[in-house]
């Protein structure tokens, strides 16, 4: 039997296509890039201020994070063998093009710094490479917020003002957390402080994002609170809170630092999973597209004379 026609949408079907970005590839890519970007800066400054274990750990995480991120990105492609096509053009209108051009040199520089660290060969070149990676690190950590926001997915695009703070907060928490895991208590002070700042930023930006979305028609905030995204989000909040508190109060204990750092790394990863699943749920709900766009049209109609495509009631 044919169900009655639903008004306001076409049989309740989605208007948008669900992002084809895979899980866990894309959350891992976002998370590893954030941790690597922050760690590169931590390593360079640890080198400058004489904190050898934080330098060593930071260089390691920067190199491994870039490698894990690259593998995840390539594995996510429909045609992995064509990854290098990313580098045949430079397109500022494509955040993924910009990101490829950040990730590629970052990965090479971070790998050089880590190789020098590991082998003891050419420490001066290693230091220069480390500074190069540190210069690109913050961009690697933050550009992914634009990658996600520069789409038609309502739960991502409408959160475009809050996502950069959420992503760099998450990156700082993960990078600081990795530093807490790998550096000795003598060296881990800066890692603990940036981890705590990152945790607070991540939690506050997440709250601000949900508040902003709740102010829009269509119930956009609910995709971050319910279903798979909601579960990842709550897990992330608990882990990030625990890790942030642990970073401040347990940094003098080696075991406490490792625990806090692991919680922060896990919390940051959970946030990235929450963002991907929220985007999928948002794409599936035609009301996320219709309700905010209808409100926009209604506001325009009251402010301007009816134009060519205005609807007639």
């Amino acid at each position: 039997m044919v169900p009655p026609a639903q008004f306001g949408s076409y049989y309740g079907l989605p208007i948008l296509k669900r992002p084809t970005w895979k899980s866990p590839d894309v959350p891992i890519y976002l998370w590893a890039g954030g941790a690597a970007g922050t760690s590169a800066v931590l390593a360079a400054l640890a080198d400058l201020t004489g904190r050898p274990t934080l330098r060593r750990g930071g260089r390691w995480v920067a190199a491994c994070g870039a490698m894990i991120g690259s593998v995840a990105l390539i594995h996510d492609l429909g045609r992995p063998a064509r990854f290098l096509n990313m580098l045949r053009v430079v397109k500022p209108t494509s955040p993924l093009s910009v990101g490829s051009w950040i990730l590629t040199p970052f990965g090479a520089l971070a790998a050089a710094a880590a190789a020098s660290e590991l082998t003891g060969i050419a420490p001066r070149l290693g230091r220069v490479a480390g500074w190069g990676a540190a210069a690109l690190g913050p961009a690697l950590a933050s550009y992914t917020s634009v990658l996600v926001a520069d789409t038609a997915i309502p739960a991502w695009h409408e959160a475009r003002n809050e996502l950069p703070a959420l992503f760099v907060g998450s990156a700082a928490a993960a990078g600081g957390g990795a530093g807490l895991v790998l550096a000795t208590v003598a060296d881990n002070g800066p890692a603990a402080r940036i981890a705590a700042v990152g945790a607070v930023t991540e939690l506050a930006a997440g709250q601000a994002m949900e508040r902003h979305l709740a102010g829009l028609p269509g119930g956009l905030e609910r995709v971050y609170q319910t279903g798979r995204a909601g579960r990842w989000n709550r897990a992330g909040q608990v882990l990030t809170t625990a890790g942030g508190v642990g970073a401040l109060f347990l940094q003098r204990s080696r075991a406490g630092s490792v625990l806090a750092g692991l919680a922060l790394l896990a919390g940051s990863l959970a946030t990235r999973f929450a963002v991907l699943h929220a985007g999928r749920a948002s794409a599936d709900d035609p009301q996320h597209v219709i309700a905010p766009q209808r409100e926009r049209l209604a506001q325009r109609t009251t402010h301007h004379a009816p134009g060519h495509v205005q609807t007639v009631d």
Binding site: I15, L77, T151, R160, G175
Partner: protein, 278 residues
């Protein structure tokens, strides 16, 4: 360089849904000409909910067993059985519409494509080069109309090419060629817009109060569509977004926020090395 700079007219589609009879000749002609494969899976081209109906490859959505546009569906005919406004018209007010890629003036898919696989042709249409696409999938969530998708098993993104192989030789696209009622018309966009304006006025005069042009306005959120429509009801009834906006319109502001966030991160890490205990 745009078509106007080259002294060539911009070409496009006008789909007048008021004369669509739902024959799906456009869907078939498109599949045939472009060698678009069938969709995989027992439910055919869309999401089936009722298992019995799905087993028969039917969607249970009036005469629509295609569902929506996608990697393997470049023309899609929607069927809506609306309630008749006037009992003298019978029980059902039939709405039928052939949907297609809009070939936006400001195309988000093209903007976000990191490989340059998506490009704008000399006819101002938007086409994917399948020998370049690496299947990153960025165009999929970027499209405000949910048109382009990645083909399972193939890995690359596919959508309507506005029959580029035909149109570049001066031929009419397969769907427009096959349409028996001229519901789908291909031609210079200027002429199509004039034709649509006249048709809208005629329908309004005849009492079709909800008749409206969709994607005709060059000042809308995507700069107007190269493939635009005459609809007899609100866009969302046909599964179209009521006020689509190209996501990259906000990109300069987004890059600004991200740069600020990156600077904030660098400053915060530096700050973590100042003061406090080691």
């Amino acid at each position: 360089m745009s078509t106007s700079e080259l002294g060539m007219p911009r070409m496009g589609f006008f789909t007048d849904t008021s004369v669509c009879i739902g024959c799906k000749a456009c869907e078939v002609a498109c599949k045939e000409w472009n060698l678009v494969p069938p969709d995989a899976g027992p439910t055919g081209s869309g999401p089936g909910t009722d298992t019995d109906i799905a087993a028969m490859d039917l969607l249970g959505m009036s005469y629509d067993n295609t569902g929506s546009l996608g990697a393997n569906t470049w023309r899609h005919v929607a069927f809506i059985e609306a309630e008749a406004d006037d009992p003298r018209q019978g029980d059902v007010r039939w709405l039928m519409a052939s949907d297609v890629c809009k070939h936006c003036t400001h195309a988000a898919c093209l903007d976000v494509c990191p490989t340059g696989a998506l490009f704008r042709t000399e006819l101002d249409t938007v086409v994917v080069q399948e020998d370049v696409c690496n299947g990153c999938g960025y165009c999929v969530p970027a499209c405000p109309y949910g048109v382009i998708d990645v083909r399972p098993g193939d890995g690359r993104a596919w959508k309507c090419t506005l029959c580029y192989d035909r149109t570049k030789e001066g031929l009419t696209p397969a769907c427009a060629q096959a349409c028996p009622t001229e519901s789908i018309v291909y031609g210079p966009l200027d002429e199509l817009r004039e034709r649509a304006d006249l048709r809208l006025a005629t329908l309004r005069e005849a009492g079709e109060s909800r008749a409206q042009l969709y994607g005709r306005d060059p000042d809308d959120g995507v700069g107007g569509d190269g493939a635009f429509f005459l609809l007899l009801d609100e866009p969302e009834v046909y599964g179209l977004p009521p006020d689509p906006v190209v996501t990259t319109r906000d990109l300069p502001a987004m890059w600004g926020r991200a740069a600020l966030a990156a600077a904030g991160l660098a400053a915060a890490v530096a700050g973590a090395f100042l003061g406090g205990p080691r």
